[in-house]
């Protein structure tokens, strides 16, 4: 019993990282086994879906690709123009090249009260703690614990997660805090006079040292003025549906790593 107490205090000083990553290799097969039934279910529904449906999907995806290609062309032009203008202003700030790593979710449930997900990539693939995690439409979280072959990520909706966001339209900064509900984030410390509307896009500011700037996070869905309270209650919805997300992108800066982990900055709550 005494040793258990020791473990807990020890952990606060982070001596036990090597132990954790060692054991994580041992328990990985368990995670894999647990995710098997739903994987098999998914694979079989995919195998049994009709040819017609697949053809439809194929056509839709092709149309999507053309559309995306078009947007990408525009983006390339804009990027060049941006670089040229910045050169004119001799500004040091540049768009950074980023590399991504695709990681798949293992379909297992951890604690229902903590919004964590398990990914099938670990430190041997170059994953590190604090690495930003993207869904199809924006930031969804960051790596919390990186094991050797799998890692655990904390989602933006976890009540212990906070990031400094910015309302893209007005440039107003705000703390974006998880609520513990899957499709709700809270914007803290905004007053009534703030320039904001329902539907406004919230992006990362890059000022928190957690996430790179200018990645979309969420969209404002409700603004409520409550009598007697100093701040307005603003709720936002993450752009990526966190219930159905299966593939995620892990972001890596060209110069190396984005610093810090989310846990260190949540003291502000």
């Amino acid at each position: 019993m005494l040793s258990v107490g020791m473990m807990i205090t020890d952990y606060h000083y982070n001596y036990l990282g090597f132990l954790r990553s060692g054991i994580s290799v041992v328990v990985y097969p368990v995670k894999y086994l647990a995710s098997l039934p739903s994987n098999i279910y998914q694979a079989s529904t995919e195998a049994l879906s009709s040819r017609n449906k697949l053809l439809n999907e194929n056509a839709r995806l092709r149309a999507d690709q053309i559309l995306l290609g078009l947007q990408l062309q525009k983006l390339a032009v804009l990027e060049q123009e941006n670089a040229r203008l910045r050169e004119l202003f001799s500004s040091a700030k540049q768009l950074e090249e980023e590399q991504v790593l695709i990681a798949e979710l293992l379909s297992i449930d951890l604690d229902p009260y903590r919004h964590r997900i398990v990914l099938n990539k670990g430190t041997q693939d170059g994953v590190y703690e604090g690495q930003p995690l993207l869904g199809a439409k924006g930031i969804i979280g960051q790596i919390d614990k990186a094991g050797l072959v799998s890692s655990i990520a904390i989602l933006v909706t976890d009540p212990n997660h906070a990031l400094l966001g910015v309302i893209a339209r007005s440039g107003q900064r705000s703390l974006v805090v998880g609520t513990g509900s899957n499709d709700k984030l809270e914007l803290r410390h905004l007053v009534n006079e703030t320039d904001m509307q329902i539907g406004d896009l919230i992006t990362t500011s890059g000022l928190d040292g957690l996430y790179p700037p200018n990645y979309p996070v969420a969209e404002i869905v409700s603004i409520q003025q409550i009598a007697g309270e100093a701040f307005v209650r603003v709720e936002a919805k993450p752009l990526t549906d966190l219930n159905t997300v299966r593939e995620t992108l892990l972001l890596r800066n060209s110069e190396g790593q984005f610093p810090k982990t989310a846990e260190n900055t949540t003291e502000t709550r």
């Binding site: 040793s3 258990v4 020890d10 954790r20 041992v26 995710s35 449930d109 614990k145 212990n160 949540t266």
Partner: protein, 159 residues
């Protein structure tokens, strides 16, 4: 004698592994908080049935594995399971003689301090669930006890 011992180890290990997998299998959102604590009641059963070999040490190591699996503070579940095993071992002779429904009640009561200590550790980290649903697994685990008991006894008798 020795091979019999190995068989027993295999039975305990296998059922604990199965319980661990049951803990992780995805459930729909509404059912998540109601998931019985399969691992805890399986552990209680083995401690009651075979206290000479499945004791606080085994429980502690099992807890450590769970900690890594869930990404919780290292030692959190280890402490919880050690406490659980201690309670079960303390009352194992009495628990063996209870009728099955009273045993279920015993398992539920044994779960309370275990869950309380987990809640306490989570609270210290500022992660408390803030919901009475946190205690729902106690109820569902009690309901599941007769089934778990029958299955595990069959496994034990078969080996």
């Amino acid at each position: 004698m020795n091979s019999q011992f190995l068989l027993k180890i295999r039975a305990v290990g296998g059922t604990l592994l199965a319980a661990l997998i049951l803990m992780l299998i995805p459930l729909p959102d509404w059912a998540g908080p109601w998931r019985p604590d399969w691992l805890a009641i399986t552990l209680i059963y083995w401690v009651i049935a075979w206290p000479e070999h499945v004791g606080i040490g085994i429980a502690w190591i099992l807890g450590l594995l769970v900690d890594v699996l869930f990404g919780t503070l290292l030692g959190q579940y280890a402490l919880g399971f050690a406490l659980l095993a201690f309670i079960a071992i303390r009352f194992h002779i009495r628990a063996r003689n209870y009728p099955i429904y009273q045993q279920a009640l015993f398992a539920g009561i044994a779960l309370l301090p275990y869950m309380a200590i987990l809640l306490w550790i989570q609270g210290i980290q500022g992660e408390d669930p803030k919901s009475w649903l946190y205690w729902a697994p106690v109820l569902t685990s009690m309901l599941m006890w007769p089934i778990v008991y029958k299955v595990l006894r069959a496994v034990r008798k078969a080996n």
